[in-house]
């Protein structure tokens, strides 16, 4: 399965009346068909391109219902889109789909600061929500590195995670209810404020459904109390293995830090050149550890973690002395992708999870794979979760380089799964890893997933051809657009 230079889905004339009906249902200025818009929305943050026929910007759930009903009446697929920061082609429109963008549905509707939850529209940006409730001592726990720009709706659809999900769990654990426009256009409230609503946990299976079970139009999210005490530590190690072993040892000692992030030397060097934070560029790996909670537990954990890091040979121990220094250390972690752009113009970010105890050997193999394919690889990742993010950096103008990038990527995914890991920890399957699903799931497992998809969407027009390889879905054609490497 090397890179497939698939045909672009051929342009077919937009079904007569589709555009007119959408314009009548929304407003003409919120239904776009111009070449510029169609170009802008033909892919997400991955490099997988598709083709949209019309871009809609609804303001309300009933407008979303109208978009869905009109698309279905014209037998045209539809795709929900938040901010388009997805990395697996989830929001890439195929076959001239109707793109339903939630960016204008961006209001925080209500906040219950006593019971700590909020109702928000799907287009609210992740960081905006946390900022809106910060003065109440609360925040929305999932904090993807893209949190300045990704939407809550996208977080729900991808069950997104972030550095602080180690202790507090990923999006699924923070969603109480989702109002959904089902693929037949009906509106349903899945879950609720009450903790144990009757019926199957349809809310739970909707989270992570990548736009294939319907469109979220309102979300009730749990808000988390911000900790009174926070301490951020930075360690450096002479070998990547020592860093990885430190991670396992911290967890094995019965501590669950708020975050446990690792960066390798190439990455640290790039980041340091970018932000000048005084990072130890001579080290093979650095580990960013954050603990939070009440004062005594934080102090004790810092002491024990420093001890463990020393036992594993950390060179320096840097503990952020104030909020400014803490922010600087985190900036290093969160701007890694920007920094990398200075080394080579292009990067391909991978996302797999492996058992923590296998991290040293998996990292060794990742370096070996990159070397075999003559590529540069950097690692910056959620070490506490075993969630690897190998970043292949390259210049796509180099002839043949994309084939090497795709081949190396697939080897990394295969190796991760072979040591007991999984295909994706946060970015989702989308189109990118769809055809690798059989690495993890047998035909019967995939059939069960397809059955649930069929219960939500019997017609199959909600973001079709994603997640499930075609044998398990109802589609009879392989819709692999340009840029996909599956």
């Amino acid at each position: 399965m090397s890179a497939i230079a698939a045909d672009r889905p051929t342009a077919s004339p937009v079904a007569a009346g589709l555009i007119d009906e959408l314009r009548a249902a929304l407003a003409p200025d919120r239904v776009h068909v111009g070449a510029t818009e169609l170009g802008l929305y033909k892919r997400d943050a991955s490099n997988i391109e598709g083709r949209a026929s019309v871009i809609c910007f609804p303001l309300t759930a009933s407008e979303v219902q109208a978009c869905v009903r009109i698309a279905v009446a014209h037998e045209t697929p539809f795709v929900a889109r938040g901010s388009g920061t997805g990395l697996s082609g989830g929001a890439t429109p195929l076959d001239g789909a109707v793109v339903i963008v939630t960016t204008k549905m961006n209001h925080v509707l209500s906040v219950d600061t006593v019971n700590r939850f909020a109702w928000v529209e799907p287009g609210v940006l992740n960081l905006d929500l946390s900022k809106a409730v910060a003065r109440r001592g609360l925040h929305f726990a999932p904090d993807p590195s893209s949190q300045q720009s990704c939407s809550i709706g996208g977080n729900v659809a991808n069950n997104s995670g972030g550095p602080h999900c180690l202790a507090d769990g990923v999006t699924e654990a923070h969603v109480l209810a989702v109002e959904v426009v089902l693929p037949d256009g009906t509106l349903a409230m899945l879950g609720g404020e009450e903790p144990e609503p009757d019926g199957y946990d349809l809310r739970g299976v909707f989270v992570g459904s990548e736009g294939m079970f319907g469109i979220a139009t309102k979300v009730c999210v749990r808000l988390t109390q911000s900790a009174p005490a926070v301490r951020t530590m930075l360690f450096d190690f002479a070998t990547v293995e020592a860093g990885a072993q430190t991670v396992s040892a911290i967890i094995a000692a019965g501590m669950v830090p708020a975050a446990l992030e690792m960066m390798d030397q190439l990455c640290t060097t790039a980041v340091e050149a970018y932000i000048n934070a005084g990072l130890p560029v001579h080290a093979a790996a650095i580990l960013l550890v954050e603990v939070n909670g009440l004062e005594h537990s934080v102090a004790t954990d810092v002491e024990r973690i420093v001890e463990i890091a020393r036992a594993h040979g950390t060179g320096a121990v840097r503990i952020a002395q104030d909020e400014t220094e803490r922010a600087l250390l985190w900036k290093g972690r969160k701007t890694a992708f920007g920094a990398i752009a200075r080394i080579k113009p292009n990067y391909y970010l991978h996302d797999t999870v492996v058992p923590r105890r296998r991290l040293p050997e998996v990292l060794r193999e990742v370096y070996a794979i990159a070397a075999r394919h003559d590529l540069l690889v950097m690692n910056v990742f959620h070490a506490g979760d075993g969630n690897l993010h190998p970043l292949l950096v390259f210049d796509k103008r180099e002839p043949g380089v994309m084939d090497r990038v795709h081949a190396a990527g697939e080897e990394i995914v295969r190796f991760s799964v072979s040591v007991g890991g999984v295909l994706s920890g946060e970015h989702g399957i989308g189109l990118e890893k769809r055809d690798l699903m059989p690495l993890m799931f047998a035909p019967a497992d995939l059939a069960a997933q397809a059955a649930v998809r069929h219960a939500f969407d019997p017609v199959g027009l909600a973001n079709p051809h994603k997640v499930l390889p075609s044998a398990a879905s109802c589609g009879d054609v392989q819709h692999v657009p340009a840029g996909a490497w599956v």
Binding site: A173, A188, L190, D198, R203, V205, S297
Partner: protein, 284 residues
């Protein structure tokens, strides 16, 4: 663990029911009954996961985890499979989260008699649709759990119950940092605080809480309301503040909307078209 024999027991046709230890209602009457295999496969404390047969008693898993300084967010009693299939949390839900977040991977026997895997073995995983969420709380109507991988957590250094007399629970609730459980019966509030012993003591003192022997006895019936309704409950009750589970008297619940009920029916029809799994059990 080999689930071949269990799958054969379940078979491919005809009504069939499953029972654990019978502590949560047990088998459907007058239907052929099967039992999931028991036994702990492994515990990986450094990965914070454990794997066991669904027929394993919760108590057995709890004891084995305690030996390595960990625990699992399942309510006491019965079997692991039963606790997951019913999906009702214990009174530590505020701190531990819902039972549904405990299940990482399930291998279950489907209505077709096949062994099917849902989810994956790592805590973080977004590979494919999350069928584990559907299985938790499905009371054996979508598939019979055979082997599960659950998420575990370290035991806290200190864990103490406190109480205070309050006519209104929310003011005190707001002052506590991540309590593990807060219960209120209209007159007294009980709080379970965990963590570093000094933090626990300081928090309790600052909030005006006094040491208590444990939680109060819970009335038998159990339902759930929006957590904001807890302050206005009347009658005899013990309510979980910040959660909304009510033990005892509570207002009647509204039933699921037609759209949600219909979706639930479609899920059941897809996964168990002939309705052979736990016939008569209605979830919804």
């Amino acid at each position: 663990m080999d689930l071949g024999a269990f799958a054969e027991d379940v078979g491919v046709s005809g009504p069939v029911t499953i029972a654990g230890l019978g502590s949560r209602g047990g088998a459907v009457a007058d239907v052929r009954c099967v039992h999931a295999p028991g036994g702990i496969e492994w515990i990986q404390a450094d990965e914070m996961i454990a794997c066991c047969g669904a027929g394993t008693p919760v108590a057995e898993l709890v004891d084995a985890l305690a030996a390595v300084g960990q625990r699992v967010a399942l309510p006491d009693g019965g079997t692991v499979g039963g606790a997951l299939a019913v999906g009702r949390a214990g009174i530590r839900r505020l701190g531990d989260g819902a039972v549904r977040n405990t299940l990482l991977q399930a291998r279950y026997v489907s209505a077709a008699g096949e062994v099917v895997k849902a989810g994956g073995p790592t805590v973080k995983n977004v590979s494919g649709f999350d069928l584990c969420r559907l299985l938790v709380g499905s009371r054996g109507t979508l598939g019979f759990l055979g082997e599960v991988i659950v998420r575990t957590r370290p035991l806290p250094a200190a864990s103490h119950w406190f109480s205070a007399t309050v006519g209104e629970p929310f003011a005190l609730f707001a002052t506590l940092h991540r309590p593990v459980s807060v219960l209120w019966d209209g007159a007294t509030l009980w709080a379970l605080l965990e963590g570093h012993a000094a933090d626990v003591a300081e928090q309790a003192a600052a909030a005006g809480l006094h040491p208590a022997d444990g939680p109060p006895p819970l009335p038998q019936s159990r339902t759930s309301v929006a957590p904001s309704c807890v302050g206005s409950l009347t009658g005899r009750f013990v309510a979980e503040v910040g959660v909304g589970v009510v033990h005892g008297d509570a207002p009647p619940r509204s039933s699921a909307s037609p759209a949600v009920a219909e979706l639930g029916r479609r899920v059941k029809d897809e996964l168990d078209p002939t309705g052979r799994l736990n016939p008569g059990v209605h979830v919804g």
